[in-house]
Symmetry: C3
Subunit: 469 residues, 3 copies
């Protein structure tokens, strides 16, 4: 493919498996990208302005990068991440880039290394492994290209062969960037997704004010349980007008609840007025997952549950730098008991699609595959976050396929805000899946004909179908 | 082997490993089957009547099959599974078979696919991959053969080269089918196993009535703790007269207890009179595992513990279709604390054999291998249920061998009621073990001579010894 | 290498991977051994007396060996392990050796087998696989050699090419053997490590007396919190004068605490006077980890946390044979919540080095790699104890590298008291790492140049740097 990325990257070295994997991959390598879950900024597609300098584009916003460098003693300010007190932060993209390049060896063996090599080589044509000695020239090459029209967001979108991409917006977002995209007449398909954490989680900053705003936006009385639910329904409908086919929920646990309506109303009142204790707040979040499941039955949005991250684990970092600075740590996550109220309520519905993710790989074979392998409403999202990696994706297939099959999985999510890396991420997922299928064929557990069908389904079809795109 | 099953199925594609695996497998492929734990119906061997139509034989009773199809939106009634309300259920075997064949692709990558291909090809001589287009002709071929004398249970038993098979009967079973087998003069060795859940688990339906019946059957006073224990001892003796060498216990957790005799008696009285709360009922189940361990010391029955399944997870399905409809979901299972009372009581006994199973693979290297690698009474059962699969059996060996060795494991259990698939299941286990041994040899971690010995032990000897068969 | 150990042992059989692994290994095979954590007896190096007979050297003290044999029904007395009641114990080394040799097959597939084959072949020149038939002649060959000067501890130390080795001593140890080593003028570098369990864990036998002794040794008032802390600081300084660069902590859980100083003082008083309940004692242990972290900030000792072992699980064995008889069983271990108080206190310090170990492999990708991949103070110790094995080390790399990278790991620890096996253990770790790197190169995920650098770092450099040796 390029000097940095071998044409056989991620295929087994065994010649028989490699040969099969090459064939499978060759048949699907150029399929369009379907990106049903991610975090790119719709503003990029709306304004189509040039991306900023290489460091602001590729380093500063990437939590995988700054967490690793921080773990090895590099200050965040030197990477351009600003402290909340406004103290000095590196603003020179070239200096940030150099610091990254000098430490690029730290990423050996990580997916960040693969993604970056892909981006440098396939997007920007760089042919040398990055290090301190070539940092400046690489920086210049990227910067030069970013200034060109063919490196603006829409041009890259088209070059990347993206058939459809979903962004994620909070329930209170006015979706104005999405509106601008529609109004621009540009043909790229960018859809939103409904992320209501700020109006569902009583522990979210400004929860009460957020509910007031939700009421204002919808004309519903969010002081009352029925009005609150109606407001959600209206926002979901609004999001659907901008292409949304899914909602997304990032709770710390997979807890769900299914209270009687009187109980739910009483709980809402306690939550609304700030009187609910921690257990009640957790129950409320859980209740809302079930409510969202019921709404999905009516409006068809796919329900995504992303549990198990202990957000902002370090209070010191939270105080100095704020949220989302790489300090989200996975925790042990139960699904079998936690999801039972939701499943008792809507788990047998064929027309509902609930997609489960995990950061706890021990749940793949023990809980998630057995659940998705029987409940019609459940499907398994791809290997997520820290596990969105070659070894992680391989483990996902090895640990889920025998019980859930391939068809209770939903293809790949890139889940990224790093726009230039999207082709890299999808290509890696396709390669890992082809390598897995190649092993099954080489071990005579699957015919080659079937593997070709599956390669296409895993790379393209399942994502479209599962997300109704 | 056949058009559907390659002669090298499940061996690594690396030529060196494959060559070693072939050699190992060749030396044990035709060893008799020892099936020490399973759920075939002794009535089959007793009456030796023809099996029913292909769907009733191969589809309807197989929870692996109907759970997968159900997860993908297929109604159970269409698969011939009757609702409890007596509403319409498909009775036409051909229609059920067609539905299965049309959806056979859903099983790609699952053990069900391998088992079915094996059965179709090696038992019935089918040479084409099943799909909607050949469903009828395959059905006819199977149906034709099932009508022949050489496809009756005893003929298949002999053709399958089964040296001994264990069935599982409840403590209240009169073992009349086993008696008929004995009286028939047929030489096939079919033994029973003692499964006392219905008279040990206070949450079992009809527990109190069950204890009354246990008293009637044994002439012991099951209103008293000592009579209750004596009744178990009598039933175990009775089961031994029909060849039983083991008991089997399917508790939801691995909890054990070891109360003083006064405490145990008092607990029994609360349980017997329905006054015990949930914690007491759990303690009672745990106490009974320890009691069974003590009885085993006297009567030599091997004690099998199969914990960790949340049975009938969906109340909706339970209400509509009853028990055992694919909704048993594994849960996280502790062994180190849970088994301590049992181990404190009898764990150091050399003459006791307690075989542990798990649905929680995270316990293999963390708990089960370290426990079985030191307690003389403990051994590890093979990869179970959802993990009775090529990847699952490979993980079992990779995660247990280094700490527990091979000799604290007990060979293979097919654990099935799907009689025609028994050779498939044993053959797959043998192949996976040979592939594992071949890797050890190819990596110079074991000599080839040793691997040949081990291949035989894993396929045959260990099961006979561990189960005292 | 020898008749028993193939030159390619532990390398993948795939020719491409094997060829790369050979090259990598060839470049680092003869690097000196850095052993930063272990349990050899400093007396050996101090006195340089001949080792005892083969069984007393290689069998009797090895818990991996006697636990496996015990699990298969061999009495510990027959292996030379004395019961506490003084009853008869086998004292004839030859008889013990024969019993081991006759049962050597039980170790197939275990690391014990690899280590022993290495020791027999590379240290003692044995060329036949051990079994009952050659037990006597092998015994004689070893015994003959142990009598020679070149098999005394210092000669082996030099032959093994040990650059530095750490032993582990309790806080109350006078380090007299270490003093003797220094005074002897011998050039071998043997350092101690500070293991204060006996004066940190209120459940340790003789805790109160131990604190009295600690007071006596340091001239500090260990009846007061401040004096107790000062006493630790003095002992740490004293240990540093004998080369210590680390402390080591073997708590049952990873619980840490960070009380205010008033609270901590009050807790200390309850603990000191024996009034603390179980929860308070656990909090105290956790508090002391945080205190040790603070001391490390001042004095530079590396802090090692080895949690998760349920020590002496069998009270029957404890009563008959005492501690450390193979009955330490791993348990599920939480790190994310448990370490938070410590991390909140000192986790962001760049100059602190806290090395985490685990016996719960499910925590590798879920908790440990994400924590070490962001907190500057954290690093991951190598695969430990039951997981110090080829499969265990492979899983460690596969499960941690993608999130923590290689550079948040610390190379290898042999962690052993089995001195003759030290080269075997390091060689196996080097081979497993080279095999892992070879796979990454063969799959084009790393360049060969990088792999050569990493092979050296994993085998040598990282251990020196992480342990400040």
């Amino acid at each position: 493919m390029s000097a940095l990325i071998d044409r056989d990257v991620l295929f087994a070295s065994d010649p028989r498996q490699r040969s099969i994997a090459r064939g499978l991959y060759g048949s699907i390598a150029t399929l369009p990208i379907v990106s049903p879950h991610g975090h790119t900024d719709p503003r990029w597609y709306a304004l189509n302005e040039p991306f900023p300098d290489p460091a602001q584009l590729l380093i500063v916003p990437d939590h995988y990068i700054f967490r690793m460098l921080f773990s090895q003693g590099v200050d965040l300010q030197r990477l351009g991440v600003p402290p909340m007190d406004g103290s000095r932060t590196e603003a020179d993209g070239r200096a940030i880039w150099r610091l990254f390049a000098e430490n690029y060896r730290l990423f050996r063996g990580t997916p960040t290394r693969l993604w970056m090599d892909y981006v440098l080589s396939t997007v920007f044509g760089i042919e040398e492994l990055l290090d301190g000695s070539n940092a400046d020239s690489v920086y210049d090459q990227i910067a030069d290209q970013l200034a060109k029209p063919e490196f603006r967001p829409r041009a890259l979108f088209e070059r990347f062969n993206i058939e459809v991409i979903a962004t994620t917006e909070g329930a209170l977002d006015d979706l104005s960037w999405h509106r601008k995209i529609r109004e621009s007449g540009w043909g790229g398909r960018v859809v939103t997704a409904y992320r209501p954490d700020a109006v569902v989680d009583p522990d979210f900053e400004g929860f009460s004010d957020n509910l007031d705003r939700l009421g204002d936006m919808t004309g519903e009385d969010t002081g009352a349980w029925s009005g609150y639910l109606a407001a959600h329904r209206k926002r979901r409908e609004y999001f659907k007008t901008f292409g949304a086919t899914s909602s997304d929920h990032g709770h710390r646990t997979a807890t769900t609840a299914n209270l009687g309506s009187g109980e739910a109303e009483a709980l809402f009142q306690r939550v609304r007025t700030g009187k609910a204790d921690a257990a009640e707040r957790e129950t409320f979040r859980g209740q809302m997952l079930t409510e969202m499941g019921r709404m999905s039955l009516d409006d068809g949005l796919v329900l995504q549950i992303h549990p198990g991250s202990w957000r902002n684990h370090s209070p010191g970092m939270m105080a100095r730098f704020g949220r989302d600075k790489g300090f989200d740590i996975p925790t042990r996550t139960d699904y079998v008991a936690a999801l039972k109220p939701l499943l008792d309520a809507v788990g047998l519905e064929k027309n509902l699609s609930v997609i489960l993710f995990t950061l706890d790989e021990s749940s793949y074979s023990r809980e998630l595959a057995p659940l998705a392998g029987v409940y019609p409403a459940l499907k398994l999202g791809p290997a997520w976050w820290f596990h969105d990696s070659p070894e992680g994706m391989r483990r996902f297939r090895e640990l889920t396929t025998e019980t859930a099959g391939f068809y209770n999985t939903v293809g790949f999510n890139d889940d990224t805000r790093a726009f230039p890396s999207i082709p890299a991420r999808h290509d890696i997922a396709r390669r890992v899946d082809c390598a897995f299928l190649a092993r099954l064929v080489a071990e005579h557990r699957l015919t080659e004909t079937e593997a070709f069908e599956l390669a296409r389904e895993l790379a393209y079809t399942l994502a479209k179908e599962a997300y109704r795109l």
